[in-house]
Amino acid sequence: MITREDVKKMADLARIELDASEGAALAGDLERILDYIEKLKEVNTKGVEGAATTALVNEFRLDAARSFENSAALLDAAPHTEHGLVSVKKIIEK
């Protein structure tokens, strides 16, 4: 059973502000979706290794910085910049 409180908790973890009316509807949706998903329990998965991807290669590359020739566009996209850097709110209080 998914409650409005569960939804609120998950939305908090996902950093999404919900409208006051939204929680109940989302709880109902999630309840129905999770109900459907339940049938996975029928499958015997003992000893099966999970597949996180179907890509066959495990590609390695040098952990080296590359320069990007259009960095001005990146800075243009940021809502706040200072001296060619993206500025953010202070996160550590004294």
């Binding site: 996902a14 999404i16 502000e17 949706d29 499958v43 099966v48 179907t54 890509a55 940021a78």
Partner: protein
């Protein structure tokens, strides 16, 4: 203007021949398409933006052709691009409020390849927000309409790209798939759509939804056109570590063997007239001397359950980047955390919120084993089902969708019923194998003829097999 040009039948190779003969110029062709777009887009809502610089690109191509250069593979071909694929200097919104003012700073790898092949980019096409949906009704720009009945959906999430091709507003288009988002709208609008093998096409510059599944692919009028586009965009790219060198797999048998999955064809899983069309396709294969075999894919009935665990889980991680700090919508809060809540609260639409929250749930402490771990194991079993099947058959035939295009508004309030539309589509995504949607017949609903797609599923890197069989179906429809 050239009156002998019928955009409904004009193919890429014919266009190339006409350019070489000097029958028409790239600029003239672009102008014909633009007229069509201006005439139809108000009603169909296929494009979010039409590029002003398409004519400049066309003129540059005409200059090359006049100088006697050999036409490149897609020389002067007007192509529409789904709005989650980055084009340098153009907006890329993924039909989301959170990216409404975002301008791409680089070309996606596929866009670079299209440009190198001479393609003309006509504009950005409509889609479900962040490619989450099966009808384009989740677009912040409103739904695209099905040209066969404008009261019905175009399918999704690449609905705008499908409509652009179906209504001759582009000769071909790029879309993207995570779970059916090319094949389903292709089926609903009567065009060809390919979901390539995972890792056949670079994802660099594709706005991520679920990275272990996302793949860019073509939509076109004919199988041959889709093949030409695929040939241009495929191949290894150092900027996508999951992309691979393309090593084509061909048929294992002297005589093509077609598999029919018994689990998908039994019961009342599809409309009766859709079933009749699939059976007719199977009969056509038999008559042509193909061997048709019943096969079993025992774990695929669980594919949709697996999909709606893995996708939301990956979505919840991929969407973490929309923080209002580096790009996109940014709402002020009293502190940085409150800023995140306000930005994401205002920027994400209903289906995106639903999936982000569901994804957070299935990954959260205490549920991870029951959901994500179990789903990734069943995903392996599904991939093995297909591997076993492709030991004995070259290609699997199936419906694309259980029924033709549904009505606008019919399913949008009931997410689970929308998800169930993709029941025959997501198995191929989970297994990472290619699948092609080919228009094959029509059914009638409310006095209107609606297209139905036949799906052909192949082994990894077996696109060539699908194109061959797809062309056969096309010729016998």
């Amino acid at each position: 203007m050239n009156s002998r040009i019928d955009l409904n039948t004009l193919t890429i190779e014919e266009t190339r021949a006409r350019f070489q003969k000097g029958d028409i110029s790239a600029r003239e062709l672009a102008a014909i398409y633009e007229d069509g777009i201006k005439q139809k887009n108000g009603e169909l809502n296929a494009y979010i933006e039409i590029f002003e610089d398409a004519f400049e690109a066309a003129e540059a191509i005409d200059a090359r052709l006049e100088a006697g250069d050999m036409p490149r593979l897609l020389e002067g071909i007007p192509i529409a691009v789904k709005d989650n694929i980055l084009i340098r200097g153009k907006k890329a919104t993924a039909a989301s409020k959170i990216l409404a003012n975002y301008t791409a700073s680089f070309d996606a790898t596929v866009i670079g390849r299209l440009r190198d092949a001479g393609a003309i980019l006509m504009g950005r096409t409509n889609m479900d927000e962040f490619a989450m949906g099966s009808s384009t009704e989740q677009s912040v720009y409103g739904a695209a309409k099905n040209p066969h009945d404008t009261g019905r959906v175009a399918g999704g999430s690449s609905g705008g790209s499908a409509v652009a091709v179906a209504a001759a507003m582009a000769m071909a288009a790029l879309g993207s798939e995570t779970g059916g988002s090319i094949r389903q709208p292709a089926g609903f609008t009567g065009v060809v759509g390919l979901k390539p093998t995972y890792s056949a096409v670079s994802r660099n510059g594709l706005i991520a939804m679920a990275s272990s599944l996302d793949q860019i692919g073509p939509l076109a009028k004919t199988v041959r056109d889709a093949e030409l586009l695929f040939d241009v965009i495929k191949g290894k790219d150092p900027k996508d570590a999951t992309s691979a060198e393309y090593e084509a797999r061909s048929s294992l048998h002297e005589k093509i063997v077609i598999g029919v999955p018994q689990e998908w064809m039994r019961g009342d899983g599809m409309d009766a007239d859709v079933r009749t069309i699939i059976e007719r396709a199977i009969e056509t294969f038999r008559e042509a001397g193909y061997e048709v075999k019943e096969i079993s894919l025992p774990h695929t009935p669980y594919a949709l359950s697996v999909y709606y665990i893995i996708v939301p889980a990956e979505v919840s991680a991929n969407l973490a980047r929309y923080d209002g700090v580096r790009y996109g919508l940014s709402k002020e809060g009293a502190n940085v955390i409150e800023g995140y809540f306000k930005t994401r609260g205002a920027g994400f639409g209903p289906e995106v919120r639903r999936r982000a929250i569901l994804g957070t749930y299935v990954l959260s402490a205490g549920y991870y084993d029951a959901y994500y771990r179990r789903a990734s194991r069943v995903r392996r079993l599904i991939a093995q089902d297909f591997e076993n099947a492709f030991g004995e058959v070259d290609c699997i035939v199936a419906p694309v969708s259980p029924r033709p295009a549904f009505k606008l508004g019919e399913k949008v309030k009931d997410p689970l019923s929308m998800y169930l539309e993709d029941i025959f589509l997501v198995p191929a995504n989970l297994a990472g194998i290619p699948a092609l949607s080919v228009p094959y017949g029509v059914v009638e609903r409310d006095g209107k003829k609606l297209p139905v797609g036949v799906q052909l599923i192949g082994p990894r890197f077996g696109e060539g097999i699908l194109f061959d069989i797809g062309k056969f179906l096309e010729a016998h429809s």
